[in-house]
């Protein structure tokens, strides 16, 4: 157990990170992610005014979310830097946000300062969050909530399981199919044990969560993205809807729109070190001649990729895939190359149709 953003979190269970990681990609794992912040926004007319209000703080197309749909976005600052990344869901009559644990208090203060007074901000301190991730997740959850199997990726539905009212989204942080389940804190242990009782499901900790998201090419706030990186530099431009690019209206919009139009001087990329030595966060990246061109922001061993994998920022002229680079590991330059991400294909469920 380690302290993490004020919570006591398990890095790993007895099976260990490698086993937990592989199990997630072959069966299903249950993660306790209750440290994440859960926030509701309600406007005078429910969702629409809340969405319009939130758009003043994020570049994502929130107003365009259909009921029961969700989207990845980020809070930006006046320079276009990322204050936090988050999930925003149209629950029907309100907006539901999931934000990072370490940013939770700052995000809530930011919402209070940035939203007009008629938007009601609810902080759900009494709800836990359980992630069920892996190719068997839909089969397992549908035993208790039949329609869960039909939910497409990035959608939300309410369910009642064993007398507990749950808000379920088909989403996650592993690159696998799966669900995040918001559950009243009083029921959390019971629901977690119910799911852990299924033959396919094993518990997984923070260590596997990190190695899974790295293989999936997903950003970790405070490492791969922060207040000094913009969504364009971070290769997250896909999360900025067409309407928002045209209209702006979010903090740093001038910077972000200029970067979309004219390019950026550095970019987040995937990196594959040659050989077996991992290139960890902070590793300097140089060109073939040894000139510094960037640094690694997340790196480690990819258990399914079966090789070291990393992501980081490099000068844009070096960001094309297959570009040869050097990674300075403990003072020794080691060869590697720029790669597309994810390192292991995403396996999201796009829907029955």
């Amino acid at each position: 157990m380690v302290p993490f953003a004020g919570y006591e979190m398990p890095v790993q269970y007895p099976a260990g990170i490698l086993t937990e990681h592989r199990h997630t990609r072959t069966q299903a794992s249950l993660f306790d992610v209750s440290h994440m912040g859960q926030v509701t926004l309600r406007g005078p007319d429910g969702f629409a005014s809340a969405a319009t209000a939130l758009e003043r703080l994020v570049p994502g197309d929130i107003a365009g979310l259909a009921p029961g749909r969700m989207r990845y976005t980020m809070f930006t600052n006046e320079n276009g830097g990322i204050l936090d990344d988050l999930m925003a869901t149209n629950v029907g009559d309100y907006l539901f946000l999931v934000v990072n644990a370490a940013c939770k208090d700052a995000d809530i203060a930011h919402l209070k300062a940035g939203l007009s007074g008629d938007i009601e901000i609810g902080v759900l301190e009494d709800r836990a969050l359980i992630a069920l991730q892996g190719p068997a997740a839909a089969e397992v959850l549908s035993r208790y909530a039949r329609d869960a199997a039909r939910m497409p990726f990035m959608s939300a539905l309410p369910f009642e399981i064993d007398g507990s009212r749950l808000a379920v989204t088909r989403s996650g942080y592993t690159g696998e199919d799966g669900f995040e389940i918001s559950v009243p804190a009083a029921d959390a242990v019971r629901i977690a044990e119910l799911l852990l009782g299924e033959a396919e499901v094993e518990p997984a900790g923070l260590g596997a969560r990190d190695s899974l998201r790295l293989e999936a090419g997903l950003c970790l706030y405070g490492h791969d993205i922060d207040a000094t990186t913009t969504p364009v530099e971070a290769a997250l431009t896909w999360s900025i809807g067409k309407r928002r690019r045209e209209e702006g209206g979010f903090p740093g919009d001038a910077v972000v729109r200029d970067q979309i139009e004219n390019g950026v001087s550095r970019k987040r990329v995937g990196i594959l070190p040659d050989g077996r030595a991992p290139a960890r966060e902070g590793t300097e990246i140089t060109d073939a001649a040894g000139v510094a061109i960037g640094s690694v922001t997340s790196g480690g061993f990819g258990p399914i990729a079966d090789r070291p994998v990393a992501m980081g920022y490099v000068a844009t002229e070096y960001s094309a895939k297959e570009t040869a680079v050097q990674l300075v590991v403990r003072g020794t330059p080691r060869p590697g190359k720029i790669s597309t991400m994810p390192f292991v294909p995403h396996r999201y469920f796009r829907g029955p149709e």
Binding site: V11, G16, T19, R276, P278, G300
Partner: protein, 125 residues
């Protein structure tokens, strides 16, 4: 009874004549978790007692391995390059790291025997 001696940095050593085989303890591997990479010194390197001699990387992090004795590295465990998991599976056997020709056998005097190390590591967890 084991013929291993242990350092406070959780390396073990087994002496045969003037050559010592070195690895990390079962306690150390259990604390590290799954080992995915081991960086070993080149054969011929002179190592100094308590100085960094190798690096062991788990999924989580990289950790230094210190030379428990001074001397010349005369052999390294090449098997760890392709199968670093040997460190987890057999830390005091096939998961050995390197062999060092002792330059000062008196350095062995301060090391712990199995029983003393068991007590020492029990207070570390």
């Amino acid at each position: 009874m084991s013929d291993l001696k242990y350092s406070q940095e959780h390396e073990w050593i087994r002496v045969d004549g003037d050559v010592a085989t070195v690895g990390i303890s079962d306690f150390a591997q259990s604390q590290l978790g799954d080992v995915v990479f081991v960086e070993l010194p080149a054969v011929g390197t002179q190592v100094s007692k308590d100085a960094e001699a190798a690096v062991v990387e788990s999924v989580k992090a990289a950790s230094d391995v210190y030379a428990p004795v001074s001397g010349e590295v005369v052999e390294v465990n090449e098997a760890l390059e392709g199968t670093p998991e040997l460190v987890n599976q057999s830390p005091t056997g096939d998961g050995w790291f390197m062999k060092i020709r002792l330059s000062d056998p008196s350095e062995l005097d301060g090391m712990m025997d199995e029983a003393a190390y068991a007590e020492f590591s029990a207070n570390q967890g």
